[in-house]
């Protein structure tokens, strides 16, 4: 293992070489990636042949087992944010990056205890189904469709940012044209996956990807731990001293402890993370792919196990990157730290001038690509389903569309959303991918979670309450982001040269989530219409027992 010993000087040199070395091994990276693409395309075509009805396209025929769906849920959830973003955040800010892992995991309990099972029982294809059950169909479905598409596009933006980052590191493509080409390639692939394979194809792609991601993370975690003789304390100590920040690197506060504003930002992020998951449309529709609520419960339990294990590994990946690399190199490679995990794998494999390093870098990058591709497909499916089922079939066609027309609309929506996300992909390159995803979580927690919970559990909830909550949560969260330092006013902003950031927090959750809940309550209280008691009775029985579930 002597090749693994790292001297700081050598480490700087080797990573400076990384991009060049990586481009030397470009054929290897490209062929690994091509293998994944070909394999998933075969799966997609195979699944596409079995996709005949709307239920096949939207819900994969509802025949997946708890373990299969648990794996697919994990695949959908462990995005580029988890892999690249969290490792990067820990590598740069030490302990503060760890909050992401914890919030992303604890959040699953909300889904498990309150949402997964009743949703499975009472809905059919989309989140809007549950809300529309006892409300006025058209306004509620329009609102649900809108917020589904907005949340998914926020999330897509994060994935596309991750794709751009990886490409410039791995393939040595630094020209804008080259990056746009790769983002376009990702977009085209995801359109193919979703239009041909539907939910069935997408679910299998998620499963393959989840296995690859776990295997890749396990390999690097094992190698990093091996280097430190499985002594976590030693690993942390090296990370702390190597970071140049000493023991503060292992303590809370390095990123969020600097001022009272940043402390509020930390709370805001924490709240958004824990409440966002159960409002993410692409996660919610996964529960429709299983036959019963009990199986939905099993799939959440599998997901909690798999995702929990993965996030435990991000601790080693992140602190490992901090221990093996100089903070300067991580920032030099990507301002937001998104390349820390791939760089660490290069280093642990023997550095930039070794075959081992290049191979590991190629493997990890292919895994990260696979991750992005699969999550992007899941997000696109969620938004095109919602467009076709909620907005096209039930609002525009007032429930008169045939199954065939509905699925055709979903396929066209997929193409449109693919094109939009390709266009947005170039915008957000230097933002931390985990940070961007956290924004999607904040929007989901503000606009979707309150209405879902009220619909399922509050007898008096009305259409007006639902609309106030969805639109209020949506506009306040997106609006606050628009006027936050994420968009303008700082060197790391999307538009660093202008400053219209009057809202000090990067994450809007602390304001917009309570507002979403408050508006749902207030809208209900002030509405003139009586809630439909009979429909609620029906919904309640159905959501808890599965009577009459699709």
């Amino acid at each position: 293992m002597s090749t693994l010993s790292v001297h700081p000087a050598q480490s700087v040199q080797s990573t400076v070489l990384a991009a060049n070395e990586a481009s030397e091994h470009r054929p290897l990276i490209i062929s690994l990636f091509a293998v994944f693409v070909v394999a998933t395309l075969i799966i997609t075509v195979w699944a596409g042949r079995q996709t005949k009805s709307a239920s096949d396209f939207y819900a994969g025929g509802r025949q997946f087992t708890g373990f299969q769906n648990g794996l697919a849920v994990s695949g959908d959830y462990m995005s580029a944010a988890s892999f690249l973003g969290i490792a990067g955040a820990i590598a740069l800010f030490g302990y503060d990056g760890f909050l992401y892992s914890i919030g992303f995991l604890v959040a699953w309990l909300v889904a498990l205890l309150l949402v997964a099972e009743p949703l499975r029982n009472s809905g059919r294809y989309t989140m809007g189904d549950v809300l529309a059950y006892r409300m006025r169909q058209r306004p509620v479905r329009t609102a649900a469709g809108t917020s589904t598409i907005v949340v998914s596009i926020f999330y897509l933006l994060a994935q596309m940012a991750g794709a751009g980052v990886l490409v410039s590191l791995l393939l040595g493509i630094t020209s804008d044209a080259g990056k746009i080409l790769i983002v376009a390639l990702v977009g085209v692939l995801m359109i193919v996956y979703v239009t041909i394979g539907g939910m069935k194809g997408t679910t299998w792609v998620q499963m393959v990807k989840a296995v690859l991601l776990i295997a890749g993370a396990l390999l690097i975690t094992f190698l990093i731990l091996l280097k430190f003789n499985f002594n976590l304390s030693d690993l942390l100590g090296t990370a702390a001293s190597n970071s140049g920040k000493g023991s503060a690197f292992l303590e809370p506060g390095l990123k969020y402890g600097v001022s009272s504003t940043s402390k509020l930002d930390f709370i805001s992020l924490g709240v958004a993370l824990v409440l966002g998951t159960a409002g993410l449309p692409h996660i919610l529709i996964r529960f429709y792919t299983v036959p019963t609520a009990q199986v939905a419960r099993k799939s959440v339990n599998w997901a909690i196990g798999i995702i929990g294990a993965f996030y435990l590994m991000t601790i080693v990946l992140g602190f490992g990157a901090a221990a093996l690399l100089k903070p300067g190199e991580i920032i030099a490679s990507n301002k937001a730290g998104n390349t820390a995990a791939p760089l660490a794998s290069l280093e642990i494999g023997g550095g930039g001038d070794s075959a081992g390093g290049a191979i590991l870098l190629a493997v990890i990058s292919a895994v990260a690509f696979a991750t992005i591709l699969a999550v992007v497909a899941g997000l696109t499916l969620a938004s095109s389903s919602s467009f076709a089922h909620d907005i096209y079939a039930n609002v525009i066609r007032r429930g008169q569309a045939t199954e065939k027309e509905e699925v055709r609309a979903a396929r066209w929506a997929t193409v449109a959303i693919g094109v939009v996300s390709i266009a947005l992909g170039a915008l957000a390159r230097d933002l931390n991918v985990a940070g961007l995803v956290a924004l999607a979580f904040a929007v989901a927690a503000s606009a979707n979670l309150p209405t879902i919970l009220y619909s399922l559990f509050w007898k008096k909830f009305t259409t007006q309450g639902a609309l106030w909550s969805i639109y209020g949560g949506l506009t306040s969260s997106v609006g606050l982001v628009l006027f936050s330092p994420v968009v303008s006013g700082k060197a790391t902003s999307m538009f660093p040269d202008v400053d219209f950031a009057w809202f000090p927090l990067e994450n809007p959750g602390l304001i917009s989530i309570p507002l979403g809940f408050l508006l749902g309550w207030l809208g209900t209280l002030l509405s003139k219409e009586e809630p439909d008691k009979e429909k609620y009775a029906e919904l309640e029985v159905r959501s808890l027992t599965g009577t009459g579930a699709h």
Binding site: Y95, F98, L99, S101, I102, G103, L105, V106, W108, L109, V110, L112, L113, L114, E117, N231, L232, S233, D234, L236, G237, A240, S247, L250, E251, P252, G253, Y256, G257, K263, F266, I267, G270, V271, V274, Q294, R297, V300, N301, I304, G305, G308, Y311, L312, F457, A537, E538, E540, V541, L544, T545, G546, T547, G548
Partner: protein, 95 residues
Amino acid sequence: MQQSAEFGELRTAHRSFAFPLTIAFIAWYLLYVLLSNYAGGFMDTKLFGNINVALVFGLAQFLTTFLIAWWYSRHAATKLDPKAEAIKSRMEGGA
């Protein structure tokens, strides 16, 4: 059916378990977030080697998440599923 005593029991069995537990784990999680923010001295205490209270607290969140998931699933399988199944088969049998 929604008015029946049998369904009332199922609803109570679900709500009286899921609601307090949700409040509890969110409070426990927020405690962690707030301590990280405002109790630096306590969280920075080193327990052994470079392992400090903050890290152990974070790992404890993982542990409690796994435990709560397991606990809820056991409750659901023993207390909720049989009741739900009975109501469902009666209603669908009658329909």
